[in-house]
C-alpha cells in the first residue's frame, strides 16, 4: 500500500524546494518533486520501422502498486514520424514535459498536468534551428525558473559537434543562444587544458555556487551514423567531445574549460548543501570523473574510478545519484550491466555491485527514496542492437532495491507491445497538481 501525497506535505516538502533536498530523477534541484510514490513514468520512445505505427511517441506506464493498472501502458501518444527521440525534461512547475528529436530538432511540449494519466501534445516547436542561429539536435531540457535550457549536440553549418545552449521561456518562446567556447572564441573562458572543442551534451546547475556545468558528446554526422561504420572510421572517432565547461549560471557566460577526454555524457550534481561537486562518465574511456570546486574555489576535473574494463568497451551511458549523495548507479550499455558505486568519498568511488539488466541498457531513474529503480534500453536508432530478438532487447523494467540486490517487479517488452525503443523516463503523480487518482476502474482497458 502506498501512501498518497498529502497536499500540505507536498507544499512544504516539494514545491518550496531547498537546495538540500534530493531529486527523484536527477533533475533541477529547485523543481517540484515527488517524495512519495510516483504514479506514472513517461517514456520518450523512439519510433522503429515495423514496430507498431513506427512513430516516436510518449508512452505512459502506471507504476503505482495501488493501481489496478500497475505495470501497464495506460497511454501512448504518437507525434508523427521519427525524429530520433532521445531526452526529455520537465518545466520547473512540472506541468509540461519537453521532449526533443536529435535528427529533426523538433521539440514536443506535452501537457502532463491536465490529466496525468493521459498526456496531450500542447505545442510543437519546429523552428529550433532557425531561431537559435543554427543549433542542431536539442538534447537535455533543463528547468530554470520560468524557462527551459536546452543543450544542443550539433550545428547546421557542418553538422559536427560545435554547438550551444539554447534558452526558451516555459511557454515556448525563444530567449537566447549561448555558444560553447572554442579555440576560435573562448568568450572569456579560461582554457585549462588541451581542448576547447565547443561540443555539448548535458547540463546541470548548482545555483548556490552560481555554476552551470555542461558536457560534450558528438555531432549529428556521428550520432546519425551506423555505430559499426562509425567505429571503423578513424576520422569519425576523432570527432567526440573532450571537455566539460563551467559556466557563470547567472550571466550565462563560460568561465573555465576542463579537459575530460572521451565523451563525457550525463552530469549529476550532488545535493548536500556543502557538496560542491558533480559526476560524469566518459563513454569512450569508461571512467567516472569528478567535477569539483577545490578549497581555493577553483573548479577542477579528475578521473576518480574505472567502469569495468575499458578495453572491452562497456560504454557507460546514464547515471543516477542517490538522494543522500552516497551511491551512484552507472549503466554500461554494451554489456547490459548496471553498476553501483559507493561515492561516500567522491574522490574515490568504489563499485559495490553489478547486475545484468538486459541485452543493452541505457537510462536509469530512481525514486526519491532510492527503493525503486527504473531502466530502459535504447541508445540511438542507428546504434541500438537488433539481436538477439526477445524481451531483453527493447524494454522498460522496474526493480526494487533493497540495499543489496535489484529485485524485478515488472517488465514491458516495447517491441512486443508495438511501441518502439524506449529512452528517457520522467515521473508523474496526481498529487503534484492537487489531484486524486480517479476511483473508477483501471485506465488501461479504456484507453
Amino acid at each position: 500500500m502506498i501512501a498518497p501525497i498529502r497536499p500540505v506535505w507536498f507544499l512544504l516538502a516539494c514545491l518550496l524546494c531547498t537546495p538540500s533536498l534530493a531529486d527523484e530523477t536527477c533533475m533541477s534541484p529547485y523543481m517540484a518533486k515527488i517524495v512519495g510514490q510516483e504514479d506514472f513514468v513517461y517514456i520518450w520512445t523512439l519510433g522503429v520501422a515495423g514496430v507498431g505505427d513506427g512513430q516516436d511517441k510518449l508512452v505512459t506506464v502506471d507504476v503505482n502498486p495501488a493501481s489496478p493498472d500497475y505495470g501497464k501502458v495506460v497511454a501512448s501518444l504518437s507525434v508523427g514520424g521519427r525524429h530520433e527521440a532521445h531526452h526529455s525534461g520537465l518545466t520547473d512547475d512540472r506541468r509540461y514535459l519537453w521532449a526533443s528529436g536529435l535528427d529533426t530538432s523538433h521539440i514536443f511540449v506535452f501537457d502532463i498536468h491536465s490529466d496525468p494519466a493521459k498526456p496531450r501534445l500542447h505545442k510543437t516547436i519546429d523552428d529550433f534551428v532557425a531561431v537559435s542561429g543554427g543549433v542542431v539536435g536539442p538534447h537535455t531540457s533543463y528547468a530554470l525558473p520560468g524557462r527551459m535550457l536546452l543543450t544542443g549536440l550539433s550545428n547546421n553549418r557542418d553538422h559536427g559537434g560545435r554547438t550551444a545552449l539554447v534558452e526558451y521561456t516555459n511557454d515556448g518562446s525563444f530567449v537566447a543562444t549561448h555558444w560553447m567556447p572554442t579555440d576560435d572564441n573562448l568568450q572569456g573562458a579560461v582554457k585549462s587544458g588541451s581542448y576547447a572543442d565547443g561540443y555539448g551534451y548535458d547540463a546541470r546547475a548548482l545555483p548556490r555556487r552560481n555554476v552551470l556545468i555542461s558536457s560534450s558528446f558528438t555531432g549529428w554526422i556521428n550520432y546519425m551514423m551506423n555505430m559499426g561504420q562509425m567505429m571503423a572510421d578513424a576520422e569519425a572517432m576523432k570527432r567526440f567531445g573532450n571537455t566539460v565547461v563551467v559556466w557563470d549560471l547567472h550571466a550565462r557566460q563560460p568561465k573555465k574549460i576542463l579537459d575530460v577526454p572521451g565523451a563525457p555524457l550525463e552530469i549529476r550534481c550532488a545535493w548536500g548543501g556543502r557538496h560542491d561537486y558533480c559526476f560524469t562518465t566518459t563513454a569512450l574511456t569508461s571512467k567516472i570523473w569528478l567535477i569539483y570546486e577545490d578549497a581555493d574555489g577553483e573548479w577542477q576535473a579528475k578521473a576518480v574510478a574505472d567502469i569495468g574494463d575499458a578495453s572491452k568497451i562497456p560504454l557507460p551511458v546514464d547515471i543516477s545519484i542517490a538522494a543522500d549523495d552516497s551511491l551512484l548507479w552507472v549503466n554500461t550499455w554494451n554489456d547490459g550491466l548496471t553498476r553501483l558505486f559507493d561515492i561516500s568519498n567522491p574522490h574515490a568511488p568504489v563499485q559495490v555491485m553489478e547486475q545484468r539488466i538486459g541485452e543493452q541498457v541505457n537510462m536509469v531513474s530512481q525514486s526519491w527514496d532510492g527503493k525503486r529503480v527504473y531502466y530502459t534500453s535504447s541508445l540511438l536508432a542507428n546504434w541500438d542492437k537488433t539481436q538477439p530478438a526477445g524481451p531483453d532487447l527493447q524494454y522498460f523494467k522496474l526493480y526494487d532495491w533493497d540495499g543489496k540486490a535489484l529485485k524485478p517487479k515488472f517488465a514491458i517488452d516495447f517491441f512486443a507491445a508495438g511501441l518502439g525503443a524506449p529512452h528517457q523516463m520522467r515521473f508523474g503523480a496526481y498529487g503534484l497538481y492537487g489531484l486524486k487518482r480517479p476511483e473508477s476502474a483501471g485506465i488501461a482497458a479504456t484507453r
Partner: protein, 239 residues
C-alpha cells in the same frame, strides 16, 4: 577564498512570528502535518559567490509583463500596468498566511533586502517599485495587507501590497504570469488555509517586459539589486 553564509537573521524571525500569528488564528491549520525544519534558502544568508558585475551580462526579455486588476492596501482599485512602465518593478506573488520559511516569507525577506540596498543608493531609490501581490484574496484583504506591510516597508518607500476582489478577478493574472497555485484541502475536500505554489518573483523593466524570474534557489537581494543596476545601465528603448 569563497565566502560562506552566516546564520539566521533577525527579520527571518519576524517573518516567522507573523506567520505563526496568522496560523494560530486559523482554525484550519494542520500543524501535525508539518515536516521537520528545512534548510534555509540561500536568500537568507550572505551570497555564496561573487556575482557578475552589473552591466557585464545580458538579461534578455522573457516576454511581456501582463496587466491585471488589483486593489491596494488602502482599498483603491488599480492595476499592474498602472503600477509599471515608469519604474523598474519587482513583483512577487505571495499570501500572508504562507507558513513555509522558504516560500512567501523568503520573497518578502528578499524584497526588504532589496529595499535596503535601494535606500542605500540614492541614485536607485526612486527607480524601482516593489509589488507584493496576494493570491489569497479571501483572507488577504486590504486591511490585512496594510498590517503586513507595516512589518517590512520603510517609510515612504514605493512598496505596494496588492490583492484582488475575488479569486475570479485574480485568476487571469496568475495565468498570465504562469504562477500556478493550488488551494490545499484535506481528504474531505476542506480548504486548509494554505496554498501550494512554486515561488516566483519577477523583475520587470520600464517597457513592461519580464527580464528575470527568481525562485527559491535563485532569489537573493544582492543578485536582484545587481540585475536592477544592469537594467538601469542600459539605454532605455524608445516606446
Amino acid at each position: 577564498m569563497r565566502p560562506r553564509g552566516s546564520g539566521l537573521i533577525g527579520p527571518v524571525l519576524a517573518l516567522l512570528i507573523w506567520a505563526a500569528t496568522i496560523l494560530a488564528a486559523s482554525a484550519t491549520a494542520a500543524s501535525h502535518e508539518h515536516p521537520p525544519p528545512l534548510v534555509l534558502a540561500p536568500g537568507y544568508a550572505d551570497l555564496q559567490f561573487t556575482p557578475p558585475a552589473p552591466g557585464s551580462y545580458a538579461l534578455p526579455p522573457l516576454g511581456d509583463a501582463a496587466d491585471g486588476a488589483a486593489i491596494d492596501s488602502a482599498g483603491r482599485a488599480t492595476s499592474l500596468h498602472t503600477l509599471s512602465g515608469d519604474k523598474i518593478v519587482l513583483l512577487s506573488f505571495i499570501y500572508t498566511r504562507c507558513s513555509d520559511v522558504n516560500g512567501c516569507p523568503l520573497a518578502t525577506f528578499v524584497m526588504k533586502g532589496v529595499q535596503n540596498r535601494l535606500l542605500a543608493d540614492p541614485a536607485l531609490t526612486d527607480q524601482v517599485r516593489l509589488l507584493s501581490f496576494s493570491f489569497d484574496p479571501d483572507y488577504d484583504t486590504p486591511a490585512v495587507l496594510a498590517r503586513y506591510a507595516e512589518h517590512f516597508r520603510a517609510p515612504d518607500f514605493d512598496w505596494r501590497f496588492l490583492t484582488t476582489r475575488s479569486a475570479e478577478a485574480l485568476a487571469p493574472t496568475l495565468d498570465a504570469y504562469g504562477q500556478w497555485v493550488v488551494r490545499d484541502v484535506d481528504e474531505h475536500g476542506t480548504y486548509l488555509g494554505t496554498v501550494s505554489h512554486l515561488l516566483r518573483v519577477y523583475l520587470i523593466d520600464r517597457e513592461r517586459r519580464i527580464r528575470n524570474i527568481y525562485s527559491t534557489s535563485f532569489l537573493h537581494a544582492d543578485t536582484v539589486a545587481n540585475d536592477i543596476r544592469t537594467l538601469l545601465s542600459a539605454p532605455r528603448e524608445p516606446s
